[in-house]
């Protein structure tokens, strides 16, 4: 097994910890507090593995607890298969903890703190406020009956004022809870952790949903295609020869008649408004946007194409 220095230290510490397993956890942690640093110094001296230099972990543990006035080794390590497996698992855990510790210190150095953990501790009050906000949002989400997607502020039955009151209560409550310190019972602590995890999950889902909703509103304006023809009041149809067709009927793909306008015409000169007498489009032939080149459709194809202008006059 090729161990890095950190691994070797972690394994040795875990061995000592296991040998001290008869002591109360608090006292044991106190005894082990300086050990990783010390082992690092011993390794830095060079001259062999930790076991070579200090002896087996259980002997070290016995000497440590005896000199600390805690009596000789209170729980000699068992050597049956089960405890060996436990020791192996503990060594793995220790190695993992060692890696986490290294990462903790590395990231901390980047942030300008001894450890990343020290920085995170400073963020605690910010987490309390965020937790209150998320709790209010969660309550609002589950109380709200409508299918509305999640917004940025909590509402209760669509009432923003109630939602803001809830937000204030939740934030103050969360900060109070955080400031008071963790609950005493192990079960309560566990429940708090579980609730926090649920809130974080809710927050991730909620933020993703809110983000998607916000993007939809910007890039897919709802109702725009319909409004495109809102200001159409009349329809003028010209044939290929530029002649205005009259009494034209328009239908959609389902055979329904298409109606534009209100059926009234305004006399451009007098300003008089009169109901249109036309059967189809255009309703008000006098308002045609282009001059019809041939006043009336003859119904007879032109005999000499050159006599007829080839294209309608399209103004613009």
């Amino acid at each position: 097994m090729n161990l890095t220095a950190q691994d070797e230290i972690a394994v040795y510490v875990e061995g000592v910890r296991l040998a001290l397993s008869g002591l109360p956890a608090e006292i044991r942690d106190e005894l082990l507090e300086d050990l990783p640093e010390h082992l690092a110094e011993v390794l830095a001296e060079g001259g062999g593995s930790l076991e070579d230099r200090l002896g087996p972990p259980d002997v070290y543990a016995a000497e440590l607890s005896a000199s600390a006035g805690l009596g000789a080794n209170p729980a000699p390590p068992r050597t049956d298969a089960r405890s060996r497996a436990a020791a192996k698992a503990a060594a793995h855990r220790a190695r993992l903890a060692g890696r986490v510790r290294v990462a903790d210190e590395f990231v901390g150095r980047l942030l300008g703190y001894p450890r990343a953990r020290d920085f995170l501790v400073l963020l605690r009050p910010a987490w309390w406020v965020l937790r209150g906000y998320l709790a209010a949002m969660a309550v609002s989400f589950f109380v709200e009956e409508s299918e509305n997607s999640i917004g940025l502020l909590p509402r209760i039955n669509g009432e923003l004022v109630l939602g803001l009151a809830l937000l204030a209560v939740a934030v103050i409550g969360s900060v109070w809870l955080g400031h008071r310190g963790g609950p005493a019972g192990r079960g309560k602590r566990r429940a708090l952790k579980f609730a926090s995890a649920v809130l974080v999950f809710f927050a991730v889902v909620g933020f993703v949903e809110a983000d998607e909703a916000a993007r939809r509103d910007y890039y897919e304006p709802v109702g725009y295609p319909q409004s495109k023809y809102d200001d159409v009041r009349d329809v003028f149809v010209y044939d290929r020869d530029g002649r205005l067709l009259t009494d034209v009927q328009l239908y959609d793909q389902d055979g329904r008649a298409i109606h534009f306008g209100d059926g009234y015409c305004v006399n451009a000169e007098t300003g008089e408004v009169k109901p249109s007498r036309a059967v189809g489009y255009p309703g008000c032939a006098n308002d045609a946007p282009f001059v019809s080149l041939t006043p009336e459709p003859s119904g007879v194809p032109a005999e000499d194409p050159s006599a007829v202008p080839s294209a309608p006059v399209v103004g613009g």
Partner: protein
């Protein structure tokens, strides 16, 4: 090593200068106590601390881990003085005893 002697030795090397575990161990070894065990020194430090003879503080270090320094407090200095007297008395008794026995 005689029980109690290590306590006195640890208090003595902390008399003039605070130190962290490994540092204290090195001072003891440099002074000639070469066989003192690492675990014994750490256990002794912990016990003296728990008995209120030492204060401790953590010093962050740029390279490597943080170090827990130990310092003598008032109770520690008083204990060191008291133990020194006891030791001096004990040592002179032992010296007389050994010399007389040597003569005899």
């Amino acid at each position: 090593m005689l029980k109690g002697v290590l306590d006195l030795a640890v208090l003595a090397v902390l008399r003039d200068e605070d130190g962290y575990g490994y540092d204290i161990l090195r001072r003891l070894r440099t002074a000639g106590l070469e066989d003192v065990g690492d675990a014994s020194v750490y256990g002794t430090l912990r016990r003296l601390f728990n008995n209120g003879l030492l204060n401790s503080y953590v010093v962050p270090s740029d390279e490597g881990p943080h170090r827990k320094y130990y310092a003598l407090n008032e109770a520690g200095r008083t204990e060191l003085q008291r133990s020194t007297k006891v030791w001096d008395g004990f040592a002179s008794i032992m010296e007389d005893l050994l010399r007389e026995r040597g003569k005899a």
